[in-house]
């Protein structure tokens, strides 16, 4: 059984963030090695400013109340927990270049890499998930 979980985060909304970080922290808490590759809008999820203001999908804003009621942790809190549990974050170099972003625009402790970096890691990971 593979002890590695590979995740691609390609979308940058609030719902996307929960899907990514819930699975990542749950996997890390189950003694899995976890790596997340953030690409395109997914970079929002680890962007110093953007991660604090992730948007709900249009027309779904009313879920904000539900999140609060269910006592779901805030995204920055989940990110911190994921890092504490040893989850590796990789920001996609190509997308950063396209968007004019540098490593300093992101939270501390991330790595920057290309598609091959992720593929090399993911070749024997199970499961590999895309959000």
């Amino acid at each position: 059984m593979s002890k590695k979980v590979a995740i691609i985060a390609a979308n940058g909304g609030m719902f996307d963030a929960y899907k990514v970080f819930n699975i990542a922290t749950a996997a890390a808490a189950s003694d899995k090695e976890v790596q997340i590759f953030f690409t395109f809008e997914g970079l929002n999820l680890i962007h110093k400013q953007a991660m604090h203001g992730l948007e709900m999908p249009a027309g779904k804003e009313h879920f904000a109340e539900g999140f609060e009621k269910a006592n779901v942790p805030a995204i920055p809190q989940l990110v911190e927990m994921a890092q504490e549990l040893g989850v590796t974050f990789i920001a996609c170099q190509m997308t950063m270049d396209v968007m004019g972003l540098t490593k300093e625009d992101f939270i501390d402790g991330i790595e920057v890499g290309g598609a091959v970096t992720f593929l090399e890691y993911a070749k024997d990971a199970a499961p590999t998930l895309t959000f």
């Binding site: 819930n22 922290t25 749950a26 808490a29 189950s30 003694d31 269910a70 006592n71 779901v72 942790p73 927990m81 549990l85």
Partner: protein
């Protein structure tokens, strides 16, 4: 209340927090000890059972009390294959119909979630101090989950003058008969 070595309050927390907290709390326990996780997340029951089996802990069961779920997990279920050294053994088959006492030396929480009717519970760790509760003249059939703890318990009894002691193999993990629960 079911006996546990540590309580973790994860009430009010949503997924994946109960798992993350459990993971952190269980590192402070010794192998074989029992953690009680108190949660209100309804998904935590299936989650904790799956988590425990994936990381090598033993999920014992859950008791519901109102909105609160009390989960019991024993650290490290993957007991290594050790050679049984106590020579007198009996098979699990037909154990119920034998004359004598069935002594269950698993943790109290394991016993509570299912044991052979009539079996007496004394966890291995307490056996040394509770020998007076047992009759040296009676046949004692010692049982645990896999035969490992019962092997140690049988040796302890033999060293303390019990002469009719038998280790029951394999153990409760292979038991298909009736189960009595204390929950």
């Amino acid at each position: 209340m079911i006996q546990a070595n540590m309580q973790l309050d994860a009430k009010g927390l949503a997924c994946p927090m109960p798992i993350v907290k459990t993971k952190k709390a269980i590192t402070d326990l010794e192998e074989g000890q029992v953690l009680e996780v108190q949660a209100t997340d309804k998904g935590s029951k299936a989650d904790l059972a799956a988590w425990a089996s994936s990381v090598g802990n033993q999920y014992l069961g859950t008791v519901e009390d109102g909105d609160v779920l009390y989960h019991y997990i024993r650290k490290g279920s993957n007991e290594p294959e050790v050679e049984q050294s106590f020579e007198h053994t009996v098979s699990l088959d037909g154990i119920e119909s034998r004359d004598g006492l069935i002594l269950d030396v698993r943790e109290a929480a394991e016993y509570a979630f299912g044991h052979i009717d009539g079996a007496k519970s004394i966890p291995l760790g307490e056996l040394d101090s509770r020998l007076l509760e047992l009759d040296k003249e009676q046949e004692v059939y010692v049982i645990c989950r896999t035969g490992k703890r019962s092997d140690l318990a049988a040796q302890l009894l033999a060293n303390n003058g019990f002469t009719k002691v038998y280790n029951v193999l394999p153990g409760m993990n292979a038991w298909n008969g009736n189960i009595k629960k204390d929950i």
